[in-house]
Symmetry: C2
Subunit: 344 residues, 2 copies
Amino acid sequence: MSTATLNIDLEAIADNWRALASIAQVETAAVVKANGYGLDAGRVGKHLAAAGARQFFVAVAEEGVALRRAIGSGPSISVFSGHMAGDADIISGAHLTPILNSVDQMLRHVEALPGHPFGLQLDTGMNRLGMEPAEWSALRDIALAQNPTLIMSHLACADDPSHPMNEIQRAAFDDMTHGLDVPRSLSATGGILMGANYHYDMVRPGIGLYGGLPFADAKPVVTLDIPVIQVREVAVGETVGYSNAWTAKVPSKVATISAGYADGLIRSMGAKAIVHADGVAVPVIGRVSMDLITVDVTTLAKMPESVQLLGTHQTVEDVAEFAGTIGYEILTNLGARYNRIWQT
Amino acid sequence: MSTATLNIDLEAIADNWRALASIAQVETAAVVKANGYGLDAGRVGKHLAAAGARQFFVAVAEEGVALRRAIGSGPSISVFSGHMAGDADIISGAHLTPILNSVDQMLRHVEALPGHPFGLQLDTGMNRLGMEPAEWSALRDIALAQNPTLIMSHLACADDPSHPMNEIQRAAFDDMTHGLDVPRSLSATGGILMGANYHYDMVRPGIGLYGGLPFADAKPVVTLDIPVIQVREVAVGETVGYSNAWTAKVPSKVATISAGYADGLIRSMGAKAIVHADGVAVPVIGRVSMDLITVDVTTLAKMPESVQLLGTHQTVEDVAEFAGTIGYEILTNLGARYNRIWQT
């Protein structure tokens, strides 16, 4: 077999959910958008529902359909992008709760699906999704009369607890929602870690469930083992890979492994990436190509049958650093060719 | 609907294949690895088989199984990673032709599947896949006695026709294969464009089929239209997106669109990317987030219902430049959430 093996520890995800719920001490939802951050929304959702999660969030209605099939009719599934044109049938059919972001979405929803549950997103300064304060002032009484299930907003700078934007957004959320008899939610993983002021009635962890920062105590969730196709000796002065990007300065051994940027291993990580062979760190050399990566295994006593990119020696955050990005991007781009194994 | 729509023009792929075949004037295979460069290997393979392609290449045996199902038993399917441990059943079951890269793979293949077709890859200097010259000298007579269907190598610098490495590899390939009565192949898209010396008996275009460089005359193959979720007015001094990455210097209108890095829109493209609304270029602002991107639409007279990232106004190569990468990476990471439509 020459496809890499991606092990996904569903029980670690459940442990992370329980740990965040125990910090928050309020209703703790689970964000499983982007196909459960790349790890399979259906399997993640089912496992978290069994662990006690009753509220799930996806990005778009289409994701909600697949999730509903996996987790059954009990838990609620909310859709961050709200009620888009043409979505009424799937919102209704899969019993989804759109989080309405604008007056347009509100009108569309009550016209197409009167009485169907919905939540509301307010913009408290991120200027990405949600109603503006002025819009909300105008709509508020009408919207509240329709019994929204949730009023939420989203923090722009929660990865940095010291950022003044956090308090600005919290104060704006308070102003816009004070005294309302509707469950309120402001925080994802970062906000959960900023304390009870940020928790309101519900928190919505995403990245923290999957082992990524800013939840530093998260259990790691994924391991990725990549088979070695062959090992060759490379003489001094010989080059390796596209554009002759690496040149041997000493007699070297080079392993070619079976994964590349088509598997979500971001091409720009090439120059800095490290993999582990039987626990020993060895550097990626040359360019990451579409299906193949070359590794300098000169220092190894025994040639490996596979190497590990993600696992006990390095996390998604370490790999993100190789590529100059964030753990979220590494997770959500884990490729379709991997042989995925879900541990329960 | 809030998922973006990816249009894939299968007939443009067939046109590109015919154009490259007409340049090469030799047997022209089609490389459909990485799920047909992200565009669906089965559909691409079926369409190219109907256009006359008789030889297909995939990266790993698992990809060959799905492709065989799609294209039927006629065409040959070769596997670049060769015969890996444990692959005998699928190589045999799906009638795949492994391209053997080492003595180890040769021994594994003849032991597990004596008489089953195979090809050979020789390393002519890229040091990534294939037998080294010394290995080949030792094995050559034994290998040839088993009737390989193909002897191939791969160029490291074919995107740059002036690179001296091209002639070095061509000379090495000649040396290693001169006088052999076995079909020979050295070139993918780049090599096809370097002239008849590089064509041998078969060429293996990949990226050129899908509209990417270095085949500058390729027909574009994909368009990507992304729905607008909402548009808001942003006052001077207000910020947009994660980490307050963008600040309005003039009263602005900002559209939030429904796609992000979880859809393969590489996060690092944020600062430079452009999309088109009704043909007018408008800049991406702030950070690309997982499922959402913000666009400055202040200059537009009419607010758009969707914007286009890939299409007549900009190609995969333009988008690659926004992200500091190559068209191959943009194509192969096009995400699973898109509503894909294949035009025939």
